[in-house]
């Protein structure tokens, strides 16, 4: 074949200075202005609503906790208001909070690349001097940071709003729908949803299917985390003195992962003995007398109660573990997206 022996053209510097990264700030802002404006506006409006509603709810809660005697009619009215109307609203908003990252991923993440591919503008964008890999990195990084920051700030308003309901309806910080919306988890889940959206958009190349795929993939990941993954974060403790709560039936703020019993000599307690003891307490009530009696019964039969649990003091370490792997996975997904952009041919 023809051997190409063309001399390098004169004046062509071999190491071109690339177009500066900061130029992408305006590009990203201008192209994604609808997202970058509407997301803070929508979440800001919800935050204002939460603040107004939250003031009333905090007030109601303060009245309720200060109300004596609890059995009086006035207190019962306060109680039904708080556990009825207020709780219904808070629960609805909590469900919305759990869906919000998926929606942000679908509406802000999926179209970023899918729109370019669907409308053909990638043929403009990817042939400019900036280079398509750098263009993708800059765009996704800026948008990811913006979306995550807005979501993180918003979730702090929600955390304040939701405070009175922790401890109600057996909700703790470790409840599935609470853990993901508190601390830094909400921001991290928003980030992963955005990254899933970007990858789906690049992989599927159509906006609507990519949005659907984002919702599906996010829901799958969130469910898998709630049901299987979160309890395996390496932060659980084991105790044979469940002093936090001697009864195995309920725990206050800690997350009890499993409870088991050993008899004399460390062997598993005989099931018939356990059944005998539990038969004494037909109702899983938790009065102090019941717990005391239960403890006595266990001691009498030389049975030790074991618990694997995550103390509430480890809420933040749990948050960091969750946010950590979500962040790592997000970076991985964005890297995969950039890889696809680099390789995927028209």
């Amino acid at each position: 074949m023809t051997v190409l022996t063309m001399p390098a053209p004169a004046g062509q510097d071999t190491a071109l200075r690339p177009v500066p990264w900061r130029r992408m700030a305006w590009v990203t802002w201008r192209q994604h202005r609808p997202t970058l404006i509407s997301l803070p506006v929508v979440l800001g409006a919800v935050a204002v609503f939460l603040w107004i509603a939250g003031l009333r709810i905090h007030h109601n809660y303060a009245l309720l906790t200060a109300c004596h005697p609890f059995s009086s009619n006035a207190c019962q009215t306060l109680n039904s208001n708080f556990n009825g109307t207020d709780w219904t609203m808070a629960n609805t908003i909590d469900i919305f909070m759990n869906l919000a990252p998926a929606l942000i991923g679908a509406f802000a993440g999926a179209p970023v690349l899918a729109r370019e591919l669907e409308t053909g503008t990638y043929r403009y964008a990817w042939t400019q001097g900036f280079g398509r890999a750098r263009w993708t990195i800059a765009k996704l990084a800026l948008l990811a940071v913006a979306v995550t920051a807005v979501a993180g700030a918003f979730s702090q308003v929600f955390v304040w709003f939701f405070q009175p309901f922790l401890g109600q309806e057996s909700l703790t910080l470790f409840s599935a729908t609470v853990f993901a919306t508190h601390g830094i988890a909400f921001a991290a889940w928003t980030l992963i949803a955005f990254a899933i959206g970007a990858l789906a958009g690049m992989g599927i190349r159509r906006i609507v299917p990519a949005m659907a795929a984002t919702l599906g993939a996010y829901t799958g990941l969130a469910l898998a985390t709630w049901l299987f993954l979160r309890e395996h974060y390496p932060l659980a403790l084991v105790t044979n003195h469940p002093s936090i709560n001697p009864a195995p039936f309920s725990a206050n703020d800690s997350w009890v992962l499993s409870t088991w019993y050993t008899g004399p000599g460390g062997k598993p307690a005989s099931q018939s003995t356990l059944n005998q003891i539990f038969a004494l307490f037909p109702h899983n009530g938790g009065g102090p007398r019941v717990k005391e009696t239960l403890a006595q019964e266990f001691a009498q039969h030389d049975i030790t109660v074991w618990q694997r649990y995550i103390p509430v003091s480890r809420f933040w370490p749990m948050q960091f573990v969750e946010a950590g792997w979500l962040l790592a996975l997000s970076v991985l997904l964005i890297a995969a997206t950039v890889g696809l952009v680099r390789r995927r041919a028209a």
């Binding site: 063309m6 200075r17 043929r123 403009y124 280079g131």
Partner: protein
């Protein structure tokens, strides 16, 4: 310098080769017409030259041997894809600013002057521009980058005759003023016949002809003579297309570099020059068009060797 050099370039989508075994060079300073019917592989070839598509086989070098899609190549080549894609929700002024931000060099005053001259308001959204205005906007953005090579994919398809003329005038001015080389694809040769000075002809994913227009015209002839002797006559030349009308035969032949007006023309036959359009149509209609029988004769711009 060659603005494009491809070697055995091929691209396969699934089981179909959109382009295969394409070896060609396009020297700098020409307006090169890339011609072929729909689906001939023109867009595929262009996409590989601008780095949008990755070759399945072979290599594509641009601007004197830079790999296609490399930073230097992106910097020196401006590409206007088919249908002149611009962001519909951005205004013409935004598109100017966007392109300026995405490139190392950008002549903003040129872009603004051109748009003013064309009567395209800077505030108007790209979605509201006419097809002709959109094509002119895309071309202006490309030229304001001051590229060494301008690649235009079917730029005239969406334009009316008047807009075609305006568009080509802009291209020709840029060539004259800045010495930019141009590669322009079209499925119709009519608008390009008078302006193109280099021709690449693709058909069904294969290179048919590549060469300077003047050379191509000089090395092809229409021979007219008695139909009965046409087979004997065809023995001397490569026949691209043969038409027989009653007693007369018209053979469009490639003289393969020999002087067509020398004594090779058999007695009783007349040789006439061909027009570029005749030549293109002959190659596209040729029954063996997908597989030229003799590669050494069709590829004028490479050394005469058949390394196959």
């Amino acid at each position: 310098m060659n603005v494009i050099e491809t070697s055995d370039l091929g691209k396969r989508y699934g089981h179909t080769w959109a382009l295969r075994e394409c070896t060609l060079t396009v020297p700098a300073g020409y307006l090169t017409a890339l011609v072929g019917p729909n689906g001939a592989g023109k867009t595929t070839l262009m996409n590989m030259c601008v780095g949008l598509a990755v070759p399945t086989a072979g290599t594509a070098g641009v601007l004197g041997g830079q790999p296609a899609g490399s930073p230097a190549a992106l910097d020196g080549i401006a590409f206007v894809a088919q249908d002149a894609p611009v962001y519909p929700n951005l205004s013409a002024g935004d598109m100017v600013h966007l392109t300026r931000n995405l490139n190392r060099s950008f002549d903003r005053s040129y872009a603004r002057a051109r748009l003013a001259e064309l009567g395209i308001p800077l505030k108007k959204k790209a979605a509201k521009l006419s097809g002709g205005q959109r094509a002119q906007l895309a071309l202006t953005l490309a030229l304001a980058r001051r590229p060494q090579l301008l690649i235009l994919d079917e730029p005239l398809a969406m334009l009316d005759p008047l807009a075609r003329q305006d568009f080509m005038a802009t291209v020709m001015t840029a060539m004259a003023d800045d010495g930019v080389s141009v590669l322009l694809s079209s499925h119709a040769l009519a608008e390009l016949e008078r302006v193109a000075d280099y021709l690449i002809l693709l058909s069904r994913g294969q290179l048919q002809v590549a060469g300077e227009v003047d050379d191509l015209l000089a090395s092809h002839r229409v021979l007219t003579g008695p139909a009965a002797e046409s087979d004997a006559c065809a023995g001397h030349f490569r026949v691209i297309q043969a038409r027989r009308a009653a007693a007369q035969a018209h053979l469009l032949v490639s003289t393969g570099g020999t002087d067509p007006d020398s004594g090779l023309v058999p007695p009783g036959w007349e040789a006439h020059p061909v027009s570029l359009e005749e030549l293109v149509m002959a190659y596209l209609r040729a029954p063996g068009g997908a597989e030229p029988p003799d590669h050494s004769l069709t590829r004028y711009n490479e050394p005469r060797e058949v390394a196959r």
